[in-house]
C-alpha cells in the first residue's frame, strides 16, 4: 500500500531526516494504520457534507487596531543570534 519510496518522499516533504532502519519501520507502521482506516470505505458517505469545523462559525472579525503583545524575550529564544538579529542558513546557495 505504501512503499519505501513513498516514505522517502514524505520525509522530504515533512523535512524530517530518517535513517534506513526508521524508513523500514515507518513503512510497516503506516501500512498497519492505513489498513485500519480502510474501514472508512464501508461507510456510505453519499450526500454527507464534510465537517470542516466543530463549531459552526464563520469569519470571526475584530477591529483592525494595533495591539501590543509583550514580546521582550523573543530575541533571547533565538537559537543563533548576531547583533540582535536572528541568524539562519542562507536560503540561496552559491554555485
Amino acid at each position: 500500500m505504501i512503499s519505501k519510496d513513498d516514505i522517502k518522499k514524505l520525509a522530504e516533504l515533512a523535512r524530517i531526516h530518517l535513517t534506513a532502519g526508521e524508513e523500514e519501520k515507518l513503512e510497516k507502521d503506516l501500512s498497519n494504520i492505513l489498513g485500519y482506516v480502510e474501514k472508512l470505505k464501508e461507510v456510505d458517505i453519499s450526500n454527507v457534507p464534510e465537517m470542516t469545523h466543530a463549531v459552526d462559525m464563520k469569519n470571526v472579525f475584530r477591529n483592525d487596531d494595533v495591539r501590543h503583545r509583550v514580546s521582550d524575550n523573543l530575541v533571547e529564544q533565538f537559537p543563533e543570534e548576531e547583533r540582535g538579529y536572528l541568524k539562519v542558513k542562507g536560503v540561496f546557495e552559491r554555485e
Binding site: A11, A14, V37, E42, Q77
Partner: protein, 483 residues
C-alpha cells in the same frame, strides 16, 4: 476541596505558604518515583506570601485564592520553560501567559510546576515523553495514562490540589480514569486555547483534572468563555437555573467496540459500568439504550483528521526561531536534522502519516472521507441528545496497563482512546468520574495495593457542562472514600 481549602485560608486555619509547603514536600517524597513533574517552580512561595498578605489584610478571597495547581507542559506560563515534553523545545521559555493561565492567576491560583506528558500530547500512556514515563500512583509498574498523565498523577498522589491538562482524543479523561481522579473535556470552543501548544486544532481543548466534580466545576467556571486570542472560543452559557437531568442514554455500540478481538470492553470494567447504571437508576434516573451507529468509525476518522492537523501544526518547529537547532550544511539540512533529533518516534510517525493523507491524489480517499464520517458522528450525538439528557459510558476499555506493554505496536496504543475519541470529533463535553476500583492481578480490590481505579464517562450536548457537574456529583457519591 477547593471550597474547603479557601474557607480554611479565610479563617486563618492554614496559610497559602503552608499549602505550597505541603505539596512541595509531597513532591519531594513521591515524585522521584512517579515522575509527574517536569519542573517544580521555585517562586511558588513568593506567590503564596502575596496571597497570605491579602488574606491577612481582609480581602475577600477570589475563586481560586491560594490553590496550588500543576500545569501540563504544553500550556505556556510567562517566564517559565515550556516544552510539551519534547527535545525540540529544549531551552524554550514562554514569552506570554496562556489565556487559561492568566485567568487562573487573576483568581489567585498558585503554580507549583509543570507536568510531564506524551510528547506534544501524542499518546495514551505518557511513555512518549522525551523525559521518561509518569508512573501510576496506584501501582508504579503501570502507566498513568496519557497524554496528561503527569497532571493526573500529580492530583492523584496529592502533589497538587488541582491541575490543567489538554484533551485531543481522551488525554484528560483517560489518565484521570487510570489514576482515579476527575477529568473534564469541555465543549470544543468553551475554553480558549491561546497559549496551548497546538496538536490538532479542530479537536484540542484545555480542561481541569481534580479530586472532585465540584472542583472541576469551579475551575471550568474560571477558565471558560470568549477570548479574542482564540477565534474559535465561545461565549460562556449563562446558568439557566433549572437543571435536573432525568434520562441517561447508554450507547449499545460501546459494549461491542472490539477491534479484531483485541480491544473489547474488559469484563471487570463492564461489571463496574453496570454497577454505575444500577446506582444511577436507584437515584431516580431513567436509563435508556441508545445507538450511535457511526462511532465504530470514529477512531479510523480520528487517525486521519488528527495526523493531518498535526503535520501542519508542527511545521513551525524547525529550529529557526526558538528551541533546539541542529547543525546542517544548508537550510534544508538544518530543518531535517533538527526535526530528526528533536522529535520522538511517535511524533515523527504522525507527521509522516498526516503528510501522506494530505498529499495530492489522496485527499478524497482519506481526509475528505474522514471529515464526512466525522459529520455523521456528530449527527449521531445530536440525534440521541433529542431523546436523553446525557450519555454514560466507561472512560476506557480497561484499567491502567503495564509500562512497556503497548509501546511496540502503535495501533494497539491508538485503540486506547476508542471510548473518548468520538466525543472530540463531535465537539461535545465529557467528564470522567472515578468509580471505585477493579481487582489487580486477582487481588482484593478493596485492599490498598489490590485495586486499580476505574472511570465512568458522562457526555452532554454542546455547552451543557452543567449537566455533567450535576450528575457527576451524584455519581461520585457512590465511592465517597475513594479520593
Amino acid at each position: 476541596m477547593i471550597k474547603e481549602t479557601i474557607e480554611k485560608l479565610e479563617k486563618g486555619e492554614i496559610s497559602a505558604r503552608e499549602l505550597v509547603s505541603h505539596y512541595q514536600n509531597q513532591i519531594k517524597k513521591k515524585d522521584p518515583e512517579l515522575n509527574a513533574y517536569r519542573e517544580v517552580f521555585p517562586d511558588a512561595f513568593e506567590e503564596a506570601e502575596k496571597i497570605d498578605k491579602k488574606i491577612k489584610h481582609g480581602d475577600t478571597p477570589r475563586a481560586l485564592e491560594g490553590i496550588p495547581f500543576a500545569i501540563k507542559d504544553n500550556i505556556l506560563i510567562k517566564g517559565k520553560m515550556s516544552g510539551a515534553s519534547s527535545k525540540i523545545l529544549e531551552g524554550y521559555t514562554a514569552s506570554y501567559d496562556a489565556s487559561v493561565i492568566k485567568k487562573l492567576r487573576d483568581e489567585g491560583a498558585i503554580f507549583l510546576g509543570r507536568t510531564n506528558c506524551d510528547e506534544f500530547a501524542m499518546g495514551s500512556s505518557t511513555e512518549n515523553s522525551a523525559y521518561g514515563p509518569t508512573k501510576n500512583p496506584a501501582d508504579a509498574t503501570r502507566v498513568s495514562g496519557g497524554s496528561s498523565g503527569g497532571s493526573a498523577a500529580a492530583v492523584a498522589a496529592d502533589m497538587a490540589l488541582a491541575a490543567l491538562g489538554s484533551d485531543t482524543g481522551g488525554s484528560i479523561r483517560q489518565p484521570a480514569a487510570f489514576c482515579g481522579v476527575v477529568g473534564l473535556k469541555p465543549t470544543y470552543g468553551a475554553v480558549s486555547r491561546s497559549g496551548l501548544i497546538a496538536m490538532a486544532s479542530s479537536l484540542d481543548q484545555i480542561g481541569p483534572i481534580t479530586k472532585s466534580v465540584e472542583d472541576a466545576e469551579i475551575i471550568f467556571n474560571v477558565i471558560e468563555g470568549k477570548d479574542e486570542l482564540d477565534a474559535t472560543s465561545l461565549e460562556a452559557k449563562p446558568p439557566s437555573g433549572g437543571l435536573a437531568s432525568k434520562t441517561i442514554g447508554v450507547p449499545k455500540e460501546y459494549f461491542s467496540l472490539a477491534e479484531g478481538g483485541k480491544e473489547g470492553l474488559d469484563e471487570s470494567i463492564a461489571k463496574k459500568f453496570n454497577e454505575a447504571i444500577t446506582f444511577l437508576k436507584n437515584k431516580g434516573f431513567e436509563i435508556k439504550e441508545v445507538s450511535l451507529p457511526s462511532v465504530q468509525y470514529a477512531l479510523a476518522a480520528y487517525y486521519i483528521v488528527m495526523p493531518a492537523e498535526v503535520s501542519a501544526n508542527l511545521s513551525r518547529f524547525d529550529g529557526v526561531r526558538y528551541g533546539a537547532r541542529a547543525e546542517g550544511k544548508n537550510l534544508f539540512d538544518v530543518y531535517a536534522k533538527t526535526r530528526e533529533r528533536g522529535f520522538g518516534e511517535e511524533v515523527r510517525r504522525r507527521i509522516i502519516l498526516g503528510t501522506y493523507v494530505l498529499s495530492a491524489g489522496y485527499y478524497d480517499a482519506y481526509y475528505s472521507r474522514a471529515q464526512k464520517v466525522r459529520y455523521m458522528i456528530r449527527k449521531d450525538f445530536e440525534n440521541e441528545f433529542r431523546n436523553v439528557d446525557l450519555l454514560l459510558t466507561p472512560t476506557a476499555p480497561h484499567s491502567a496497563f503495564k509500562i512497556g506493554e503497548k509501546t511496540s505496536d502503535p495501533l494497539s496504543m491508538y485503540l486506547e482512546d476508542i471510548y473518548t475519541v468520538p466525543i472530540n470529533l463531535a465537539g461535545v463535553p465529557a467528564i470522567s468520574v472515578p468509580f471505585g476500583t477493579v481487582p489487580k492481578d486477582g487481588k482484593d480490590p478493596a485492599s490498598p495495593a489490590g485495586g486499580l481505579p476505574v472511570g465512568i464517562q458522562l457526555i452532554a450536548p454542546r455547552l451543557e457542562e452543567s449537566r455533567l457537574f450535576e450528575v457527576g456529583k451524584i455519581l461520585e457519591e457512590a465511592n465517597p472514600n475513594f479520593s
